[in-house]
Amino acid sequence: MISGRRRAWLAFAIVGALVLAACGGTDSATEVVEETTDTVAVTDTTPAAAAEPFTLANFTPMEGAEVVNCAPPAGEPIKAAWIYIGPINDGGWTQAHHEGLKAVQAALGDQVITTYKENIPEGPQAVQTIDQLVADGNTIIFANSYGYQDAFVEGAAKYPDVCFEHMTGYKISRNLSQSFGAGEDGKYLSGIAAGGDTKNGKIGVVAPFPIPEVIRGINAFALGARSVNPSATIQIVWTNTWFDPALERKAAESLIAAGVDTLAAFQDSPATGEAAKVAGLGWAGYGADQNANFPDIWLNATIYQWAVYEVPRVKAALEGRWIAGDYYGNLGDGFIKMSSIGKRVSADTVAKIAEASARLAAASGSMFTGPIKGQDGTEKIAAGVTASHGEQMGMFYLVEGIIGDLPKG
């Protein structure tokens, strides 16, 4: 018998869900985590005074940054660990990070002992993994997924003498840094390749999540495509996945059925490429150079060169000069790299990519210079104005020429 009480609870829950919708947002790209009062930061200040402070292009030290001494005892190698969301051979995101690990090992030789943990689920297991890695003597720990952020905030408070390096997040603290880079620069170049490749002017994008990072990338891609093919349209399908080859392939096939004749995908799997290969359509990938595997359909892709950031960071930790901050690399410092360009891309388009690449290397994010209109034709960026870094980080609209929806706020 369903009692009135249960019905009341259900009604309460449904009403609660509907009424309590809240929205809001902030402009700042990073947020400083308040130090918890019950943790006493035990810092050795002696090497701080002696060593010169850490600097790196595109690295902004946090306000009031102090040197965190995560160096090993003199003469001993530093132990550095990486926590990966995927397998090291995923052909994309995690593999690119693993290249960073290898570069650190190669650059520092016997001064460093590297280790890694792959396929670590976000949530409680990440905290446990940090505990294990610290117990094993690792003093600098990297992690390559947004979902580890809170575990890293917790770990940084718990282990004040360990240097924490989280990627793609926004929370920083005394011993917790953030790093990522302008993937949108590379996606603009992929857009040029796709714009040059399409015959009917219809390009399809298999898109991971409707979040600012991805939206910014799709907009950059669309601006790139329309810079060489002003009437091109970019149709998007959201998969809400980073790595789900079966679903991503279906999404790609749905776009092909809708009549697009060039594809791009920003997930970590080459599933869209598989679908494009069957249909013989051009494909722009993401995070990995798939030219050798898909020679006939390959356009190009954005590649992240984590070594550009990680090698100097581990070196700084080794020398007792590590400070927390926020890094945003780009084409200029080599953090963002363009993959090899496929043979089906015309010489004319290759030249246009090279020209745009040089322009963006000098001024990252400058494709977001007005006049830029939104999907509905309203002006989003005024003529001659370039969107600020903060505005780009919070971008939540699609530009003109994109067919598809964003979740309503």
Binding site: T115, Q125, Q132, T168, N240
Partner: protein, 364 residues
């Protein structure tokens, strides 16, 4: 040609099998695992030593194993409760999600209230949400004879889509408005986090203690009450039960609702004990509901034993992460864990069936 071997159901289970089969299973697992280790150039003895050490060998190891075990204890119980009476509710996954949604709703809303009150409200909401979601399966089965395997499985996907909607595709109450980079759940206030208890220096999550209490209560319900007796009769013979005047429909709905309510409390524990947010992506990747079915099978569908098996599987999971690294690929860890589970389940089959040689002379 027919196989010369066949499985024959045992009419009675010899007592000796109860301890002999698990022993042989463990032995077989060790032998098969050792072969795998030797083939990949590892020393099996050190590997098994490391598994025991990093799963159960220290206080931090045990703490980690209990963290991994807690959600599995709930989903294991959820599956055990229904499977033992012949209802195949594989919806623990979705019921767990929905419980987490309900618990985080009230946890966020009551964040400023006294901790004990907030925790109690979270448990109740997890229970109600999980129970109500499972009740759908029960009602469909009891009233329309819909196959509960299909409906509970479909509702898992639906719950996953609901999670995605709440965190990724809307600015719902659950979503943190400050999560500009990547959408995430709104964090629970620290005072609403569930407390941890210490026993012999090992940290125990509140959720794990709740699981033990619930397991005992359910065992009592099944063994010592009229309700339990009637459910048992319905499982064995629905016709006989109806003939005896039992209300089979309501019993089916009640059992499925109970199992969902327990999975829902597991969802509440996930939010209160561990994540402190509604973690749409993490929950879906974890697959607690499906692992819970394995836990229930190994526990022979005893709700209390499911809690114990959850600790073993939790320890094995935790040890797996400690074990893997540059010298031990995660795929190898997974293969080893799979071997151990496979032999355990295979052994379980042998306690109920026996292998007989077919007479080959019948061939014409």
């Amino acid at each position: 040609m027919r196989s010369p071997l066949r499985l024959e159901r045992r009419l009675s289970q010899p007592r000796s099998l109860r301890w002999l089969v698990p022993l042989i299973s463990i032995g077989a697992a060790l032998v098969l695992g050792s072969i795998l280790m030797l083939l990949t150039g590892k020393n099996p003895i050190t590997v098994f030593q490391r598994i025991v050490e990093s799963g159960f060998g220290s206080k931090t190891a045990l703490r980690g194993s209990l963290i991994a075990a807690t959600p599995l204890a709930f989903t294991g119980m959820c599956a055990a409760i229904t499977f033992r009476v012949g209802i195949i509710n594989i919806g623990g996954e979705g019921q767990f999600f929905v419980g987490a949604i309900g618990a985080s709703l009230v946890g966020l809303a009551l964040g400023g209230q006294p901790t004990a009150f907030t925790i109690f409200a979270m448990i109740v909401m997890g229970m109600l949400f999980g129970g109500a979601y499972a009740a759908l399966v029960g009602v469909l089965k009891a009233r329309f004879h819909t196959n509960e395997i299909i409906t509970s499985l479909m509702l898992n996907y639906l719950a996953g889509i609901l999670l995605n909607y709440l965190i990724f595709n809307s600015t719902s109450y659950w979503r943190d408005p400050r999560s500009i980079g990547f959408p995430a759940g709104k964090p629970l206030e620290a005072r609403a986090w569930w407390p941890k208890f210490e026993l012999f220096g090992v940290q125990i999550p509140l959720g794990f203690l709740i699981a033990i209490v619930l397991g005992s209560l359910v065992l009592f319900l099944y063994r010592r009450t009229r309700f339990g007796f009637e459910v048992g009769v319905i499982a064995d013979s629905p016709q006989a039960a109806r003939y005896a005047g039992m209300n089979t429909r309501w019993k089916i709905i009640a059992v499925v609702t109970l199992s969902g309510a327990i999975a829902g409390i597991g969802g509440a524990s996930d939010v209160g004990d561990f994540r402190h947010i509604l973690d749409a992506k993490g929950l879906q990747l974890a697959g607690y509901g499906y692992t819970g079915i394995v836990v229930a099978a190994l526990a022979r569908f005893s709700p209390l034993a499911a809690v114990g098996v959850a600790v073993v599987i939790g320890g094995l999971t935790n040890a797996g992460y400690a074990l893997q690294g540059p010298d031990f690929q995660s795929g190898l860890v997974g293969t080893l864990q799979g071997l151990l589970l496979f032999t355990a389940v295979a052994g379980e089959v042998l306690t109920r069936y026996r292998i007989r040689l077919r007479r080959t002379t019948t061939a014409s």
